[in-house]
């Protein structure tokens, strides 16, 4: 069975979706990803969808679900590389993915995750101090 690779970069996980998603693949990805977050104690998850030309409500929901699951495991999720046409389609579908952070590309995504994690730590420091 085909599998979506999950790459580890520092304390981030990078998932690059380059094939058509279907139910089983999505379920498998959620399983793998949650297991990997726990195993590697990752703080951030980056999902690269720059290769997707078409995103339907199913994938939209899957992205939302992954973000929610990661949040439970204390990891921030950033979706990167969305195509303009995809963004317009999602908005027209009424799927604004409000629970998910976004960035233009992997570079900016990594920086955003860094900022978010550092921000949380700053917050903690301030409360202690």
């Amino acid at each position: 069975m085909e599998q979506i690779p999950i790459l580890k970069i520092g304390d981030c996980l990078l998932v690059s979706i380059q094939v058509d998603m279907h139910d089983r693949l999505a379920m498998a990805l959620q399983d793998d990803l949650t297991a990997k977050i726990v195993a590697s104690r990752a703080r951030g998850v980056m999902i690269d969808i720059s290769a997707l030309e078409v995103v339907d409500s199913f994938i939209g929901r899957m992205l939302n679900n992954i973000a929610a699951m990661s949040r439970v495991l204390d990891a921030v999720t950033v979706v990167v590389g969305m195509q303009p046409a995809v963004a317009i389609t999602l908005v027209e579908l009424g799927l604004a993915l409000t629970g998910v952070r976004t960035a233009l590309n992997v570079d900016k995504g990594l920086a955003l995750i860094r900022r978010l994690i550092d921000g949380e730590e700053d917050e903690l420091d301030r409360r202690k101090g």
């Binding site: 969305m82 908005v91 233009l104």
Partner: protein, 291 residues
């Protein structure tokens, strides 16, 4: 319609052309604004109209203006209509060109018919039906000419593309001018997203100073644009909200849920701060306008 009415008009025009023309022109003269320029133009137009009318009416078929013998008359009316539209006449003033012929014409018909009431009634009916049709044709053409102008302006408006400008590295601005409908929103969205990809911008300022009204639909279109930009990883700031619009938004219960600023300057300053830049007053370097 009996045949003799079709012949009565041309004979009448032939016989009393000068009198008819005088009566007609004085009718038009008494109808509001009138300049010397109008006088000469109208006189030549009226003379030609009478000639055309006589020619066409001789051939009969008063009912069908689309018939071939009316082509000359139609052409003349179109010319009159166009000229009057260009000079800023109202539709009524334009139609009056034809309708003001009625009174002198009917007076002539009355004189001609003498005591024959039946003939007079039939003549007047034929003439009034014809002149009404011609008048309506003039108005219709006037309308058509105006619609062409409107269609052309509309196309020009759409062609005036909504520009996306780069204010600074990582900061884009979209000055919106005119009402936002779904077609324009689509264009704005596509332009903005493409520019975001091209410049890698993280902040987009949408300026609505030039948007005359913001109702729920326009707000929805704005929010769509904001959402799409957010999906591409760019934050939006809405600027140029006039006091009146702020009130409308609240009264309508629209939840903009986007960072908004009153002026483009404020929005730009916020954007600069977000990308880690500040504006410094060089004469007074300690204080920054942000403080």
């Amino acid at each position: 319609m009996p045949k003799r009415f079709e012949t009565a008009l041309p004979v009448l025009i032939d016989k009393h052309q000068k009198q008819l023309l005088e009566g007609w022109l004085s009718q038009q003269r008494s109808s509001g604004a009138w300049t010397a320029e109008d006088e000469s133009d109208t006189k030549s137009q009226a003379t030609r109209f009478l000639a055309e009318l006589r020619k066409a009416a001789t051939a009969g078929q008063l009912e069908d203006l689309q018939a071939r013998q009316w082509a000359g008359t139609r052409e003349l009316l179109e010319e009159v209509s166009r000229a009057r539209a260009a000079r800023g006449f109202t539709p009524s003033q334009t139609a009056l060109f034809v309708f003001s012929l009625k009174e002198p014409l009917f007076a002539l018909l009355r004189d001609e018919s003498g005591d024959n009431a039946e003939k007079l009634a039939a003549e007047i009916w034929a003439a009034t039906a014809l002149l009404d049709r011609l008048g309506l044709y003039t108005t219709e053409f006037f309308q058509k000419a105006r619609e062409e102008v409107i269609a052309r302006q509309q196309a020009e408006m759409l062609e005036l593309s909504t520009p996306v400008v780069q204010l600074w590295e990582g900061i884009l601005a979209v000055p919106l001018i005119g009402t936002l409908d779904s077609a324009r929103t689509q264009v704005v969205m596509e332009n903005l997203l493409q520019e975001i990809v091209k410049t890698g911008a993280e902040i987009a300022i949408i300026d609505i100073t030039g948007v005359p009204t913001v109702d729920t639909l326009v707000a929805q279109h704005l929010l769509k644009t904001v959402s799409a930009a957010r999906l591409m990883g760019a934050d939006c700031i809405i600027s140029g909200i006039r006091p009146q619009i702020a009130q409308t938004i609240v009264h309508l219960g629209v939840d903009l849920s986007v960072t908004s600023k009153a002026t483009m300057a404020d929005a730009f300053e916020l954007a600069l701060r977000r990308v880690g830049k500040t504006v410094v007053d060089r004469a007074n370097p300690i204080r920054t306008p942000a403080e």
